[in-house]
């Protein structure tokens, strides 16, 4: 494993509700933007205008069910990652968001029952390899099924692009 710090992350919580669609994560008017740093400046612009101003590197998004539903734009996970978000923990994810997030190297973790036990500003600690989320503020622990080894390897490389290049180098 390359970078252990990737697999134990901790940060302050930003909460969102159910069915937070990709249009709330990055409004559709920014679709022509392809630069990820630029996209990051508009994360949650319409639903949480203070997010971009106050988010700190490592912060964690905690949301309800079906996070990232709607249009399949990859802009959404990219904006969160480049805004500094280390992980999104949600009751459940829309499929393409989940996939896009892991592929670009953003942690997306489905954890049942977490939303109602977590408040804005709580401190969370996630042990990715062991499958544990700890709410340090409320002293509560949640479990999730750890990622497959392949996903861990891909995350360690920083996403599918770098992983693929490495595999090609190895002639795999």
């Amino acid at each position: 494993m390359k970078d252990c710090s990737l697999f134990i992350v901790s940060g302050k919580v930003w909460t969102f509700g159910d069915n937070c669609d990709t249009g709330q994560i990055v409004p559709g008017r920014y679709i022509p933007v392809t630069d990820s740093h630029e996209l990051a400046k508009h994360a949650f612009e319409d639903v949480a205008p203070n997010f971009v101003k106050e988010v700190q590197k490592g912060d964690i998004v905690v949301a309800g069910t079906n996070f990232g539903c709607g249009s399949s734009r990859e802009h959404a996970p990219k904006a969160l990652k480049f805004a500094g978000v280390s992980a999104v923990v949600a009751e459940s994810f829309a499929r393409i968001f989940y996939r896009n997030a892991l592929n670009i190297g953003l942690l997306a973790i489905p954890v049942f029952g977490i939303r109602k036990e977590t408040k804005q500003g709580d401190l969370l600690e996630i042990d990715v390899t062991r499958g544990i989320v700890k709410n340090c503020t409320r002293n509560k622990t949640f479990k999730f099924v750890p990622y497959d080894q392949f996903i861990i390897d891909m995350l360690a490389e920083g996403g599918i692009t770098k992983y693929t290049l490495k595999m090609l180098e190895k002639n795999d």
Partner: protein
Amino acid sequence: MQGTLTQKLLAKAAGREAVQPGEIVHIEPDLVMTHDHQGPMTLCEFNQMGIKKVWNPEKIVIVLDHRTPTQSTIAAQNHQLLRKFAKDQGITRFFDVGEGICHDILAEKGFVQPGKLIVATDSHTVTAGAIGAFATGIGSSEMAAVWARGKLWLRVPETIKVILTGKPPAFVGGKDVALKLLQVLTTDGATYKAVEFHGDGLRYLNMDERMTLCNMCLEMGAKNAIIPPDEVTEDFLKEKEITDYEVITPDKNAEYSRVIEINLLDLEPLVAKPYSPDNVAAAKEVEEENVVINQAIIGTCTNGRMTDMRLAAKILEGKKVKPGVRFLIVPATKKVYLQAVKEGLVEIFTNAGAMVGVPCCGPCGAYGMGAMADDEVCITAGSRNFVGRLGAPEARIYLGNSATVAASAVAGKVIDPRSMMGGV
């Protein structure tokens, strides 16, 4: 080997005896597709990887269908980039502006066959499951990686079994089955899951209707939808002279996460009201609400095929679209367009006061046509009625089958087609 059809197809592709839901498998897809919406970002990611040659040009399809007929300088530049890329890489399955909508092209050209594994940078890729393929949508970085290396990871989904029984009444089709299912499952009831169709009711759904049904499963969050190959599939492929495919069927003792039964005989024309495809009501009920419309649309990869054209013509023949309603009919592909001309349908549409468009995605998301103003109402045979899907956020979109849309265009308000055409 035991499993649902999706599990069996994934096991086979991964060279495994069997696979379990939740496992991750690595496969080489049989076919990958991208279009002019996601293609430019895919191309940008691919170029950034610094790779010179794609893994296999014969397995790559590129379709220009979203921003077509070319609507802006940016669209034209994107088209130019993709055209050049296809030429440089020797990608011969390149379909230029005007050929039609990607999912329909894949099916029509015979690229989709039972058992094949297909991924594309489009959520409605699930449509291809109607022909017994495993087909799902992926992101653009991921497609760039597939172009480079030809490998893909997939999480094996659980499967929901849907059993369709009975014969649907007149003016009820694949769209209504899908809307019924959306009512039961809601927009996230099938998230991550495969939806597999069974039952004697399937025999009453032709391939066009089946594609509509599988297409709309995406709105339930499904990873893929699939119909095990049967005589309808066989006839569809025979017409294309495709006979040498392997028939794989789900095991009798396969485990399903949920089983849903729908008796088609009990169905009636349904409508999804704003702003969600699962906000479903009977067209009859909506008719009583007196919803006056400004626009009607038949087309898109959901309902732009010959079955839809014929249904629309049956209703429009000898009638006129209500003044004040703009009615767009856009065949999904060039082939559908030509067939509609040959059968005299385009004449019927035009005489009735409808406008017939060039095959493209256009009116699905107001890409160059079909845009709405605030406070306007549209009924469409497409798949989505989210806020702002057709431009103005205040515009209200209703979804219905093609008969419902055509009858509503004539009535000038949302109606049940049976109110105009009789019960049976």
